[in-house]
């Protein structure tokens, strides 16, 4: 059943590349890229999580059933986050958001 096998060198490479991507992510955030910043940061995070999932969590050597759970979880989160954020982004109502000044904390 085990086609691919996670070996010690692979683990070390995975760890080093995670540190590398952390460095890249940190560096990119200092460039002041404005609107692109969050997209780039999240993109790098997705790459890092794939490394953790496939190498550290051994997903590369497991059955498809386990991978399916990861795929579905990821899709559900993308759906939840994108739909929930699209609502306030595309509102044409007034006011676009609740006014906290109208009901300040006591």
């Amino acid at each position: 059943m085990l086609h691919a096998h996670v070996t010690t060198p692979k683990l070390v490479i995975a760890w080093l590349s995670l540190l590398f991507f952390t460095f890249i992510s940190f560096g990119a955030s200092r460039l002041g890229l404005g609107g692109w910043e969050i997209g780039i940061a999240l993109g790098i995070s997705v790459v890092k999580s794939l490394i953790v999932l496939f190498i550290f969590m051994h997903l590369v050597e497991q059955r498809f059933a386990n991978r399916l759970i990861v795929i579905l979880t990821f899709l559900f989160i993308v759906l939840a986050v994108s739909l929930t954020s699209t609502d306030p982004l595309t509102r044409r109502t007034f006011p676009p958001r609740p006014d906290p000044a109208a009901h300040p904390y006591p």
């Binding site: 059943m1 996670v6 070996t7 010690t8 683990l11 070390v12 995975a14 760890w15 995670l18 540190l19 952390t22 992510s25 940190f26 955030s29 910043e37 969050i38 940061a41 999240l42 790098i44 995070s45 890092k48 999580s49 953790v52 999932l53 190498i55 550290f56 969590m57 051994h58 497991q62 059955r63 059933a65 386990n66 759970i69 990861v70 579905l72 979880t73 559900f76 989160i77 939840a80 986050v81 994108s82 739909l83 929930t84 954020s85 609502d87 306030p88 982004l89 676009p96 958001r97 609740p98 006014d99 906290p100 000044a101 300040p104 904390y105 006591p106």
Partner: protein
């Protein structure tokens, strides 16, 4: 030995262990969805209160956050090494690696609580407790940002504590030679939980520290 720990409903030990692993993945999936709901709130409030939301993130210390990222990534690496060693029947080394990983977890919490203490001193607290130095009311979006910060990192810190307990328990099991190459699915599942803690932080770090 196999026959004794094979539950009645399974034909083989492989099937039993696949079931245990699959159940862990399902559990981790549901845990991730719990955080997913909070990420959705983060997204919605961030676009709703653009500038104000980001104001609350200025209080976060990028250096401490990045230190914690490195700590958690390295702890994930040592946990992966522990699984590697227990599979090779080197239980002593596996126990050592799990012990080291538990200490990394403790280091993460020390850094996190140092930061929390600074927030408390500055008055950056959730909801209505959030106050600025001059006693002014912070803008509504900043209050929501600070509340989500405390909620998401606090929930993550609770997961770190749970993960440390799991790692310590299987670590002791490895030291006592309960786990070996023939029997290690419990160590593997505890490791999977720890990697999830790392995965969540991989997303919390850019959202709360880098993108302000």
């Amino acid at each position: 030995m196999h026959a004794s720990r094979l539950a009645e409903q399974f034909e083989t030990i492989e099937k039993q262990e696949h079931a245990a692993r699959l159940a862990m993945w399902v559990f981790l999936g549901s845990e991730t969805l719990l955080f997913g709901a909070l990420f959705a709130l983060y997204g919605a409030y961030r676009v709703m209160y653009e500038g104000e939301f980001v104001e609350s993130l200025h209080h976060n210390d990028v250096l401490l956050g990045t230190t914690n990222t490195v700590i958690l990534i390295t702890s994930s690496f040592t946990v992966a090494l522990a699984i590697h060693f227990v599979r090779a029947s080197r239980s002593g080394l596996a126990a050592l690696m799990l012990g080291v990983s538990t200490l990394f977890g403790a280091a993460f919490l020390v850094v996190k609580f140092t930061e929390y203490a600074a927030h408390v001193r500055e008055g950056v607290l959730p909801a209505g407790m959030y106050s600025l130095a001059a006693g002014q009311q912070p803008p509504g979006g900043a209050i929501i940002g600070a509340t989500l910060y405390w909620l998401m990192t606090g929930l993550h810190a609770l997961h770190v504590v749970a993960g440390m307990i799991l790692l310590a328990v299987v670590g002791i099991g490895c030291a006592r030679k309960v786990y070996s190459a023939e029997r290690y699915v419990a160590v593997e599942n505890a490791g999977l939980y720890w990697h999830l803690v790392d995965l969540v932080w991989i997303f919390l770090w850019p959202l709360f520290y880098l993108t302000d």
